[in-house]
């Protein structure tokens, strides 16, 4: 079955208005969402990327320029990602639709391409 990544974008202010009860509700929904995917054998991993650090590298004519990033004020950055299995984009979107991340950020869904023999 094809694999898709759900790239979780958020900006630094996304959590400002959340109360402890909100955090609890979202985390519990996350647990339920993940459990269901795992039961269905569709969960293929996930990573949280560390906030606040990062390097962006670019070759600038002859030398490679390394800058701190990608964190800039008010900009959405990828904070983490999940890998799921889905039959199609439609199904991947449907799965992502239940992801609580949408309460405070956006999700980019991309199919992972594999080399076919």
């Amino acid at each position: 079955m094809p694999k898709y990544t759900l790239m979780l974008r958020e900006n630094g202010t996304a959590f400002a208005g959340l109360s402890p009860a909100d955090f609890q509700a979202i985390i519990q929904r996350y647990g339920a969402w993940r459990d269901e995917l795992q039961r269905a054998g569709r969960f293929a991993g996930g990573h949280k990327l560390r906030d606040g650090d990062g390097r962006v590298m670019r070759r600038n004519s002859s030398k490679v320029v390394v800058t701190d990033g990608p964190f800039t004020e008010g900009k959405e950055v990828i904070g983490g990602l999940f890998v799921i299995e889905a039959a199609s984009y439609d199904e991947a979107v449907q799965i992502a639709n239940g992801c609580p991340h949408l309460d405070y950020g956006s999700i980019e869904v991309r199919e992972i391409e594999v080399t076919r023999p």
Binding site: F15, A21, Q28
Partner: protein, 439 residues
């Protein structure tokens, strides 16, 4: 494991622990660190699953974060070109050093360590100290309420605003000002017997206000409001459990009286709303729906409140609530005793609302005519004139004397006043009934 975790409580626990360690001047920082720990949990747990001991994890993350924030503030102070910068920087350095040392000490102390690992998820003493800090009498009353909800109950600003029908910015400003006042006055976190005695009235006042706000059927968010009642009772229980350690005999009696009042009132909650969301009067409620366990707890606390010779308004109001709670039917209500209690209450608490309720009690003892005369005597009060219950009460009493046209006028006047949706429906129903029974 996470299902057992109560985030608002853990948040309050972290804030209280950090505030004890760092001092109330760093209350904002403690809140920020607690909030950041929750953010971290939200970002990390979905990917890796929750840690084996989630509350201990959250506390550790918050402690680390608090130290980072202290260091950040220290750097800011050092960078700031202020003339008293050296003094400020030194103070901040000391705070960082002291913070680190105190964290280390807390870790070395096995009981603190056990607490932080979540064996007993809530160190009650920290909670109590936080409550007495948030209810400091130097703060304005609304600020005490907001700060208690934020730091002791773990409510968000939005939830506080919804409970009190206030704007979020107004609540935020109130909280910021209150914390600044506590910082400027350099209030200690640790409680002395004198602090307790001095602030207990304010603490009880805030708890009663929380309870009433939750109990009153106004238009606020229903879920948040029932949470207010539960929290007021929980914090009252915490005070009662601390008992003699915190309070004088008189203070402990007042705590029990307030708990009695809250339990006895809360017992009626399930019976208060009938079909179609209409409010039911005491006479109309199905008393089999009253929560007998809650009544029993209320009566126990009322007994405990009678030890000592203290008499507070809570004693009198709980006594009145108990008269209702133990009457099997409305007609069995001991109205002469209730009228007596109101006679005492109006001396201690001479408010228009008490006067109105006293008039109702008098009408049950001496007839609707006497009640109507008592209500008319206070109807000139400017606050009462805008209160729907004044007009509704006059309407009810007028109906009982047979003056139906007058009753209809009163219900119409009541509908002109501000009231909640269930109250509005109730008044419309009574207006229809007054008209239809007109002879």
């Amino acid at each position: 494991m996470i299902d057992d975790l109560n985030f608002p409580r853990v948040f309050a626990h972290i804030v209280a622990t950090l505030t004890r360690i760092l001092g109330p001047r760093h209350l904002s920082l403690a809140e920020e660190a607690a909030q950041d720990a929750l953010v971290k949990a939200l970002q990390l747990w979905p990917h890796q699953g929750a840690p084996a001991n989630p509350s201990a994890w959250l506390i550790q993350v918050a402690k680390n974060r608090a130290l980072d924030l202290l260091r950040r503030d220290q750097r800011l102070v050092e960078l700031e070109p202020m003339h008293d910068r050296d003094g400020a920087a030194v103070a901040q350095t000391q705070a960082v050093a002291a913070g680190g040392a105190r964290f280390a000490a807390a870790d070395a102390d096995p009981s603190a360590d056990a607490r932080l690992r979540g064996e007993t998820p809530l160190p009650d003493d920290d909670q109590l100290a936080m409550m007495f800090l948030a209810c400091h009498p130097m703060l304005p009353r609304e600020a005490r309420v907001a700060l208690t909800l934020k730091t002791v109950c773990g409510f968000g600003v939005g939830e506080i605003a919804r409970a009190f029908l206030a704007r979020e910015e107004a609540i935020s400003q109130r909280l910021v000002r209150a914390k600044r006042q506590l910082r400027d006055a350099d209030v200690r976190f640790e409680l002395t017997a004198a602090d307790c005695a001095e602030r207990l009235d304010s603490v009880l006042d805030v708890l009663y206000l929380l309870f009433n706000e939750g109990y009153t059927a106004h238009a606020g968010d229903q879920l948040v409001r029932s949470e207010l009642c539960r929290e007021a009772i929980r914090l009252g229980d915490l005070l009662a459990a601390a008992g003699a350690r915190l309070c004088t005999i008189g203070g402990a009696a007042a705590v029990h009286a307030l708990l009695a009042l809250m339990h006895l009132q809360a017992a009626r909650l399930p019976a208060r709303v009938g079909d179609g969301d209409v409010l039911l009067r005491l006479a109309e409620q199905d008393r089999s729906l009253w929560d007998q366990a809650s009544i029993a707890r209320g009566l126990q606390h009322l007994d405990a409140a009678a030890s000592g010779d203290t008499l507070t308004v809570y004693h009198l109001e709980a006594g009145i609530a108990a008269c209702h709670a133990v009457a099997p039917r409305y007609d069995d209500t001991d109205w002469p005793r209730i009228a007596d209690l109101y006679d005492s209450l109006i001396v201690m608490k001479p408010t228009p609302i008490v006067a109105l309720n006293r008039a109702i009690a008098l009408s049950r003892v001496h007839g609707p005519g006497a009640g109507l005369a008592a209500v008319e005597a206070i109807a000139g009060d400017a606050v009462l004139a805008r209160y729907y219950l004044l007009h509704a009460t006059m309407g009810e009493l007028a109906l009982e004397t047979g003056a139906r046209d007058r009753a209809a006028d009163c219900f119409r006047a009541a509908l002109e006043c501000e009231c909640s949706e269930p109250e509005h429906r109730f008044l419309e129903r009574r207006l229809r009934e007054a008209r239809s029974t007109r002879s």
